[in-house]
Amino acid sequence: MESVFILATIIYVFSCVCYFGYLFFQKTVLQRIAAGLMIAGFALHTVSLVACGVRAGNFPVNNLHETLSVTAWAVAAVFLAFFFKYKLKILGIFAAPLITLTMIVANQIPKPISQDPQLLKSWWLAAHITTIFFGNAAFALACGLGMLYLLQESAIKKKTRGFFFSRLPSLDLLDTTGYACIVVGFSMITIGLITGVVYAKAIWGRFWSWDPKEVWSAITWLFYAALLHERLTVGWRGRRMAIMAMIGFGVLLFTFFGVNFLLKGHHGTFTAI
């Protein structure tokens, strides 16, 4: 299935190119091609992941290569869902390069055999992994939307009307979509954390063990919880929300990768190189 994976990567690259073309030339046809390629790449990618999972007999997150691949896949899935829901075409300019880069990195790193495949065979775990990945993907998009928001906001505030003003959609749409991404992401990681805790009880005999991964997951969750709380009560929106979405994603990245590389913990397997 190696070739299918590479083919999917190549299609993502072309999609990415088309999105950049769309950004510069603002031709709708380029955007259509880009979205079409994205769907095609996503379909192939799905095939590759399913094949991989069937062969290994578990969820394909046994090493960093597979984890990155699933990450890219989840971003593509969430991006396509939001693309169809909000008709937010320009988000591809953030999502496509992110997916493509992740895929290329995944391609470059070794693919060691998992030490303990039995660990990953549980429905609780499948639910945990799926929701966490989708949640993370939604937060990634929220971060991208935050960046786009800041670009457009500064264009409007500075009254310069530069490159991005005509190319980016309205602030309101960027803000609403970003908020929706955070709501989806938060719901997903909430479920992900609950299933994770339940699974920990099943496998290690206790819900919580103050493992760095657990602590940082809680921090991330609290960060987004606070963000949503502020939005609903005081009305954090616009610029502040955009910046927070970007900081939140930074915290999330650390929880997801940083903890594994720097602090170690019981999630070591899935970033094994």
Binding site: I156, K157, K159, S170, D172, G238, R239, R240
Partner: protein
């Protein structure tokens, strides 16, 4: 012979800050007109002040002296040292002044080429000048010509087709903030003509309730009724801001109507929902610092200029066509203007009466075939003498009047009485 001369500044030569300082309110305009009228150096004058331009159009005997006096007058009237705005001033005389006036009225010199407001503003400026009797024969003629040229440009070229105006630009921007203007609530602060126009544009975009806050409550109420909106007292503006998304301000106030800390407070109670201020007033109504508050956007009239560069190509092409119409009109006006010289008027008056006499003479002699040659000569002589006698007093009067101030009026009246052609 009186010279037509114009000087002023506009959005191209002066920044909004300078324009704010020099702009005249209606009251000030009327006071200034009276003072200009009573100034012996300035013959006729029309003062024209909008948010984008302040111009003084004059017909004067001594051009340089009059311009110096008028500039000084404006500096003193507005209490600003002349040096502060003199560099921003442009000055036109004769045909150039005429051409410039035509261009302004035809909206070729506007910030947004082709925007329709300017003509109405010019008409009311002229109306004010006629009420105060500042405009005489020359400027009356010039402005009537101006209005018909502007109308011709509008109907014969596509310059106004896009109807792109400041308000249109504001709507484009609003869409970049709100996505869709449908249902967005609008508040008008001040009920000026310009604000009305902006609201009409907005209503076409199906905005929500319109709230009008005007210093004169009754006027606000009247306007609100027209837009099926509601009126609030001017003091209620800050409270009313919680209920709106877009604020269009166009008062004649010389200070900021809305301050930064007021809006900062308001943003809290409206839970940071975006607020878009369109400040079309000069001097500005909205503290520009409000733009620094998160989710609050302030655009004044200069800022809006940046938004409208898009369709400008098309309109520039139409502007060439408009320029031709204007050039023709300038030549036409020049012909009329030249007739104000005494000699051509007398010549054409004489020509007209003589040709009438000749025509009648020929008709009469044609029916009287029995007359002898000598009789015919006698009748011809009598006709000639009659013409001379009739023309003697008027000619004398015109020549004498030539030295006095009302010369143009007399010449113009003569031309009208005898329906003399302009192209002599």
């Amino acid at each position: 012979m009186r010279d037509i001369v114009l000087f002023g500044l506009n959005h191209k030569t002066a920044s909004v800050d300078v324009r704010e300082c020099i702009s005249f309110t209606v009251d000030e305009t009327e006071r200034a007109l009276l003072m200009l009228r009573d100034n012996p150096a300035i013959g006729e004058s029309v003062l024209f002040s909008t948010c984008n331009r302040i111009e003084l159009l004059m017909a004067v005997d001594e051009r340089e002296a009059a311009v110096t006096i008028a500039k000084q007058f404006i500096a003193e009237f507005k209490k600003i040292p002349l040096s502060q705005f003199e560099n921003s001033l442009y000055q036109y005389a004769g045909d150039d002044a005429v051409r410039h006036t035509f261009q302004v009225a035809a909206s070729l010199d506007s910030m947004v080429v082709g925007e329709p407001q300017i003509l109405g503003q010019m008409k009311s400026a002229y109306y004010r000048a006629t009420l105060k009797k500042n405009a005489g024969v020359i400027l009356n003629k010039l402005l009537h010509r101006t209005f018909s040229v502007a109308k011709k440009v509008r109907t014969e070229t596509g310059i106004g087709d896009h109807a792109v105006s400041i308000s249109y630009a504001a709507i484009e921007l609003g869409k970049k903030i709100f996505g869709d203007l449908e249902g967005k609530r609008v508040m008008l602060v001040g009920a000026g003509e310009m604000a009305e126009l902006a609201v009409e544009h907005l209503i076409r975009n199906r905005v929500g309730t319109i709230t009008v806050a005007n210093r004169t409550f009754s006027r606000g109420l009247e306007l609100a009724k027209r837009f099926h909106g509601k009126a609030v007292k001017f003091e209620e503006i800050v409270d009313a801001i919680n209920e709106v998304d877009i604020v269009i301000s166009s008062t004649g106030s010389s200070e900021y109507v809305l301050q930064k800390n007021q809006i900062k407070e308001a943003m809290k109670s409206r839970r940071n929902r975006s607020l878009f201020f369109i400040d079309i007033a000069v001097p500005r109504d909205i503290d520009p610092d409000i733009n620094r508050i998160n989710n609050a956007y302030v655009y004044d009239i200069d800022d809006l200029k940046g938004i409208v560069d898009v369709n400008i190509e098309d309109r520039n092409r139409e502007a060439v066509k408009a320029q031709r119409i204007i050039d023709e009109a300038v030549i036409g006006f020049r012909k009329w203007y030249d007739t104000l010289e005494v000699v051509p008027t007398i010549v054409s008056l004489r020509g007209k009466v003589e040709s009438m006499a000749r025509r009648e003479l020929e008709k009469t002699l044609g029916t009287l075939s029995h007359l002898s040659e000598a009789d015919k000569r006698a009748i011809e002589r009598m006709t000639g003498a009659l013409v001379n006698k009739i023309l003697h007093e008027p000619t004398d009067f015109l020549k004498r009047e030539g030295c006095h101030g009302s010369k143009f009026a007399s010449l113009d009246l003569t031309r009208k009485l005898f329906k003399l052609e302009e192209n002599h």
